[in-house]
Every structure is written in C-alpha cells, then in structure tokens.
C-alpha cells in the first residue's frame, strides 16, 4: 500500500515484531517512550513463545490520551524485522496500516529499509537494527527527530551515538505518513506490572524477597536483585519453591517482612508451607502470577484460572488475603497494602496476578499519596511470661523476634497452646481454631475500609460487567464505550460481598468477563448469592482485545 498523508492521530497502535533475540521487548519500550515523551498514556502487550533464540516475538504498543490497559485488534503501524511480523498479523491490519520493514529479509508493501546495509555502513551489530526501524517509524509517524533523540538518550544506555546515527539513517529513508500530535501532559514512568508489584512491596515495608525463577514473575526476582544492589534488601534464589516459602517463614520468624514470587506450578510446591504460615501465624506474601495451565500449559501466555487454587491452597482452615490488582497502579497499591495487612494479622497473603499484568507495561501515576498506612499491632511484651499465641479479642497476638530479652519465642505447625507448645487436647484445638477465625473476622472488618471493590463505567446502568485482575483494563474501556457499569472486586479473600452487592444495586443484567473456561469468579460470587446472567470466557492464553470484547458483550446483549 502506498503511504498517504493522514490526519492528526489521537490514538495510535504499533506492532513491532522479530525473532527472539532481536530485542523486541526493548524496542517496544523505546516506541512506548516516544509516545510517553509526547504526553500520551501508553500500554504495551508483549507476546513471546517459550524459547531463547528464533521463533516470533512481538509487542503491541498503544498510546492514548487517557489511561489505558489493553490493546486493540488493529494496528496503525507494523515494524517488521522478520517475515512473520507481516504474515502472522494480517488480522490486525486495516486498509491504512503502514508496514515498515527490513527490506533485506521481509517482503511487504510499505516502507522498506535495507537494515543490514545501514548497519554495515555504521559497522554496527545486528541487534541495532531495531534503532534503524524505530528511526524510520518516527519519521513515518511524524514524530520530531528531537523527541527520538531525547528518548534514545534516556532509554539506550550503550553506544548511544552509534544508535542515533543508525536511527537517523532510518529516519531519512522513510517518509511522513501521518502526524502524531504532541500533548501538553508530562511524561510518566512506564513500568511493568512486575515492577509495580516490586515497588509496592518495598513501599509496604519489604525486607526480603525470595523466589525460584518462573514465568511470569521471574522479572520481579531480577528487579529486586537489581534494587538490592543499592537498597538494604535481602534477595535470594534457593533450590526450589519449597525452600522459597520455608525460607520466607524463617525470615518472618526473625522479623523480616518477606515476599515470594512464583506461578501455578511453583505455588503447588509452596502449598504445604502456605498452610504452615496459616498455622504458625508467620506472615508471608506470595506473588502468584497466573499463566495458561494445566501443568506446564502455555508457559509464556496468560490466564485467570488459579483463583480457586489461590482461595483454597493448603490443608486446613486459616484466614488468608487474596487480592487481584488489574493494572500497575492497583498492583503498587495492593502490594503495599497486602504486605502491611499480612503483618498486622499474621496471615499469608496472595497477590494474584497474571502474565498480562506482570509483563505488560503501563504509564504509571504513582498512587503513593493515596495509600493508607495500616497501623501495626503492638508487639508482644518481652519476658518469661511471653506467649507467642496469646489469646486476644481480635485473635491477633503480639509478635516478638529473637533475640528478645529473657523471652522464649516458640512457633509451631502442630496444633499448639498459647505458648506454642504442641497439644492434642480437644478444647485447646477448638480454642486456637477460634483464635484464628477471629483474626479472619477482624481482617474482614478492616478491609471494608480499604475500597476493596473498584466501580467504574456508567453509574446507574442496569447492565454491568464484573471482572477481576488484568481484564479490568479492557473492561474499563468497553464499559465506558458502551455505557455499562463496571464492578471489579480487587479483594477476593475475604470477598467484600456487601460492597459488591451495593455496587450492583439496580443491575438487571450482570455479565462476567474472565480469562478461564469455568467462570471462577462467577462461582465465587454464587457462594454469596450473587448471580451472574452471562459469561464471557477466553482461554487460549491471549488477553481480550478491546474490539473483540465489545463484540462479545454486544453478542450477549442482543
């Protein structure tokens, strides 16, 4: 297709694709920062198979005036470093989609740039081919050279001059097809969901992070390890997930606020430790990043199919917190809150996220100022009379950490008495169970004050979407566009059923949107007498795109 000059664009989507090893993720980030620099809010979805070199990776970068957290099912530009980037994404192309491509490797219609020739002239390595194509894109999208220069200066730490030269050659070879209007807004940090979780945990008082690598949360481990190079933070990667959670409990016993990160398979190994956390009342925060199961499933793709696993993991009954943030700001806020609450109530807490949130990138408006600080409970009183599990009105006992003066601190996974000594007596067993139950009740009361349900879309609409986790991004836009109410319970255990019911007053038709096949949120809601009228499911590992969900909702309503 010939490149024609178009109107000013208010919103734009760009797909950049190549093989693994081409640096597609970083290239996508540079494109995102071009828009960010011009005052747009950005979102990036990154799609990659489970391999190290080869295959086909792509990122979709979307920029808009408003806060966004989803991609569309069409793109305005394709930046193709391989043939697959053209061939595999025909469904995303519209009449006016422009393709910029490496003419040495890709056959397509659009703007071809002979990348190897330029790299050869600049004596640059193959991985710098991205810069060339990004330069061409900037020209095609009517982005000023100065914007690109400024972004490269911040985003490309190595061989900046060479990268700029290469980008300039791409820029000069392309021609302008449209003009993206710079907005007045200031650029925001662009961070991944994983980074938002890590920062939120730090905000909440994190002392230690322990994890065994597993997609999609490995990047939290990498991020924390990087933070620990300058910050006083203990980061450790032990032999397996069983060791991970037990180490977290050892750290917790010694007074260190600790979080761990994993995905479904690793969480399977952690469940016995999770139950020990419940019984021993040593707090731990688990970041559970869902991906497509069962078993190894699609390891680098998304899902929302571990809700009931998170709600029920571990033998026996104990109070637990489960929250599913849906974007970077919610992830920051709730990671901070969950760590604080886990320590106040001495329970395990699960941050239930998924690949879309973990590895997606978002413009981030720091919600720091709005985060309530949870006042900690008073510590125990040291001395020979100290009881680790002393009974109290709300079930919470004062904690102490060794060494405490003339104090014996006993924690125990067996049913125990107030001192932490094993017992098999029936009356003590029920007394201590009731102690834990009281903690759950107190926790429930406190949560009601923390806005555990997000309400959006069209207030007063009698049709509502209900969703959880990362689908909130797409649901927000669909609800706004179609005039529907949107309800997102962020907290899932204890479920804020009163708040959900209040939000749904006057709703005649309730549609649940979930990336699983069984309708796991709908099943949970049913336990509280909240009936869902229609379900929209997707379970192929890919997140809903905006137009796709709109069409599915329309289908339900017709």
């Amino acid at each position: 297709m010939l490149c024609g000059v178009r109107e000013l664009m208010k919103e734009i989507s760009v797909l950049i694709g190549g093989k693994a090893g081409d640096g597609i993720n970083s290239a996508g980030m540079v494109v995102a920062h071009l828009f960010n620099r011009m005052g747009y809010r950005v979102y990036m979805y990154f799609d990659y198979p489970s391999l190290i070199k080869g295959g086909h990776n792509f990122a979709i970068v979307r920029a808009s005036r408003d806060r966004i957290g989803t991609h569309r099912d069409r793109v305005d530009f394709i930046l193709a470093l391989n043939q697959d980037s053209v061939d595999f994404h025909k469904d995303l192309c519209r009449e006016d989609t422009e393709i910029l491509y490496d003419s040495s490797r890709v056959r397509a219609e659009g703007i071809g740039v002979n990348i190897p020739e330029i790299l050869k002239a600049e004596q640059a390595p193959a991985v710098m081919g991205n810069s060339c194509l990004i330069g061409a894109f900037a020209r095609a999208a009517g982005i000023e050279w100065e914007v690109l220069e400024a972004v490269f200066e911040r985003q490309i730490p190595k061989a900046l001059a060479k990268n700029l030269n290469i980008a300039r050659r791409g820029f000069d070879e392309a021609r302008e097809c449209c003009r993206i209007e710079p907005l007045g807004s200031l650029p925001l940090p662009v961070i991944s969901g994983n980074e938002a979780i890590g920062l939120g945990l730090l905000h909440g008082g994190l002392d230690a992070y322990v994890a065994y690598p597993m997609t999609p949360t490995s990047n939290i481990l990498h991020f924390m390890a990087e933070v620990a190079e300058t910050h006083d933070l203990l980061v450790f990667h032990p032999e397996n997930e069983i060791a991970v959670i037990l180490m977290a409990l050892g750290l917790g016993y010694a007074g260190k606020k600790t979080a761990v990160g994993t995905s479904g398979g690793g969480f399977c190994l952690m469940t016995e430790g999770l139950s020990l956390s419940g019984m021993s009342e040593i707090p731990v925060v688990v970041v559970l990043g869902q991906r497509t199961g069962p078993s190894t499933g699609l390891p680098t793709y998304t899902a929302q199919s571990d809700l009931h696993f998170a709600l029920h993991a571990g033998q026996g009954e104990f109070p637990r917190l489960v929250a599913a943030p849906g974007d970077a700001e919610q992830a920051f806020l709730w990671s901070s809150l969950l760590l604080q609450l886990a320590w106040k109530y001495q329970t395990p807490a699960i941050i239930l996220c998924d690949k879309t949130l973990c590895e997606g990138f978002y413009s981030f408006n720091n919600p720091d100022a709005t985060i309530p600080l949870i006042p900690a409970n008073p510590p125990g009183i040291p001395g020979p009379g100290y009881l680790r599990y002393e009974l109290s009105a709300d079930g919470v006992s004062g904690m102490l950490f060794p060494p405490a003066r003339e104090t014996v601190i006993k924690v125990n996974g067996y049913t125990h008495d107030q001192a932490g000594i094993t017992t098999e007596k029936a009356d003590l067993a029920s007394l201590m169970s009731e102690k834990r139950q009281r903690k759950g009740a107190a926790l429930e009361e406190e949560m009601a004050r923390l806005r555990p349900v997000e309400i959006g879309g069209e207030a007063g609409s009698d049709v509502a979407l209900i969703c959880w986790g990362s689908t909130v991004g797409v649901c927000r836009e669909v609800a706004a566009g179609m005039g529907l109410l949107l309800v997102q319970p962020i907290l899932l255990s204890p479920l804020p059923d009163r708040e959900v019911k209040d939000a749904l007053k006057g709703v005649k038709r309730l549609i649940a949107v979930e990336e699983n096949s069984e309708g796991q949120l709908a099943m949970l809601l049913a336990r509280y007498g909240i009936r869902v009228d229609a379900h929209i499911h997707r379970y192929d590992g890919r997140p809903f795109a905006l137009e796709e969900l709109e069409a599915r909702v329309r289908g339900v309503l017709s």
Binding site: D232, L233, M247, L249, P403, K410, G413
Partner: protein, 283 residues
C-alpha cells in the same frame, strides 16, 4: 547466668529407652555450657522437622520453630541470613532430612551457612510406626516392606563430604559424652556442621547391642585431610558389618553464606528514595 529452667512443662511422650532422651540431655548440657561461655540464651534458636526427634522443640525451653517434615534447613538458613547473631541449631530425623528434605541438606552443605545440624538417625520411621528410611540396611523388614527392603542404604557422610560440608561428624546415643563433645565442636565450627547421630529406636529398631559391639572413638585421624575423611566415612556403609567410627571426620574453613551475602548488599534504607529513583529511571 539466667537460671532459666531449660526443660518446659510439656509432657514427654518418647518411648522408654528412646535414644532421644540422650540427645535431649546432651543438648541441655550444651546449652548450659554455651551460656557459661557467654552466649545469651535469647540468641539460641532450635529448628525441628516432624517425627519423634522434633518433640525436642516442645521439651527444650528455648526459642524454637517447629517446622514441617523435611523442611528444617531452609528455615534455619533463612534465620541465619536474617540475623547472623543467632545461634541456630537444627534437629532433624533421618526420614525427615535424608528422604523428604534431602535437597535442602545438600544445599545447606553447599552454602556453608553457620548452623549446626543434628540428625537423629534411628534408621527407621518411628512416629509412623516402623517403615524403612534411606539408612535402613538392605532387607530391613518394615511395615511397608514386609518382605525386606530391596535397596541399599546410602551413606549420609559421603553425601555431605561430596556436597561441601565443612564439618562432618558422627555420634551415637550409646556414647553420650563423646556425642556431647562432637555436637559442641559442631556449634563452635564457623560454618555448616553436620552430625549424624546413630540413635536407638527402642520400639522399632533397637540396635543397642549392634552399636555397642562396633562403635569406637576416632583417634589419630587428620580432620583437615579430605581424602582421609572420605576413607573414614566409607569404613562403614550403613549396611555391611564393619567398625563404626564416632567423632569428627572432616573439618575445614570456608567463608559462610551469610558473610558473603551481607557483603553484596546495598545500604540505602529510605524506601521512598529508592522508589523515586527507580521511577525516575523509567520516565
């Protein structure tokens, strides 16, 4: 001296004649001796797994973490990383530490955390009423192997030597004084100390006479010589008849995990400053 009673009021439920009494008595003496040396009792933490051995957590009046089956060492390692001033003792069983949690044992040796592991090796599962463990001899008739086991035991000392343990020793509940000295040496050792304790199970595998006839105190042995340690460890394979040496077989010095670990950490303590710095980089 605090004069703290080192035994809790918890009712002791070990069988009469159980080797655990000997280990408990030795530990009580050791803790008193440590206090005399100037170790504040508040700094001592005991981690136990699940099994008869683990009741030690209920019986000794010191800080304790009564963990789950096989999972003592990750807990103990983490405590030491969190606070290197703690004196961390671990009691584990042979089923606990050689079967369910073998991975952690190998990694504890590899990491050389300064903790002391006492394995109550009675070579049988007691609390689950008599099944074979990784150190039961070939042909052992347990409740899961009524016709006798069909696999040889492994030699935990060899595993520990191969995994990088810096203190490898064996004790026996039939020789309490030597056992006490060996554990004390392990606690004084600045690194991962491993002590396999041949413990008599009075109910399911009473090897009192067997051990009495074969154990001897290791003397004239160079503890710093790895090859000599391997030879000493292989003298008895936990299966065929052979003399059973007791005492320290290997001792060497290597930097501990916690020391290397704290050297590699940053020191910024202001959380807001760190968050701000990260966000600035990403704008």
């Amino acid at each position: 001296m605090t004069g703290r009673n080192l035994v809790t009021g918890a009712q002791n439920t070990w069988c009469p004649g159980c080797g655990n009494f000997v280990i408990q008595f030795a530990l009580k003496n050791i803790i008193q001796a440590l206090e005399k040396e100037g170790v504040n009792l508040d700094r001592i933490v005991l981690v136990t797994g699940i099994g008869c051995h683990a009741k030690m957590a209920d019986y000794l009046n010191i800080n304790s973490f009564y963990s789950i089956h096989g999972r003592t060492l990750p807990v103990a390692t983490a405590m030491k990383m969190a606070n290197p001033d703690l004196v961390v003792l671990v009691c584990a069983g042979d089923g606990d530490c050689y079967a369910e949690g073998l991975d952690h044992l190998i990694f504890a040796a590899k990491r050389n955390t300064d903790i002391t592991l006492i394995v109550h090796n009675n070579r049988v599962y007691g609390l689950t009423t008599g099944q074979y463990t990784p150190t039961s001899p070939l042909g052992f008739k347990g409740r899961s192997t009524p016709g006798g086991t069909v696999e040889e035991p492994f030699n935990p000392l060899e595993i520990m030597l191969a995994s990088g343990a810096t203190y490898v020793a064996r004790g026996c509940t039939r020789r309490m004084d030597l056992l006490q000295k060996t554990i004390m040496d392990g606690i004084h050792h600045p690194g991962f100390a491993f002590i396999d304790v041949l413990q008599v199970c009075a109910s399911y595998f009473n090897l009192s006479e067997y051990y009495d006839a074969r154990v001897y105190e290791i003397k004239d042995h160079d503890e710093g010589d790895f090859e000599a340690a391997c030879r000493k460890a292989r003298e008895w394979d936990y299966n065929e008849d052979a003399p059973v040496g007791l005492g320290t077989m290997y001792r060497t010095i290597r930097p501990t995990l916690e020391k290397r670990f704290s050297a590699a950490r940053g020191n910024e303590k202001d959380r807001s400053a760190t968050i701000r710095k990260v966000l600035e980089k990403r704008a």
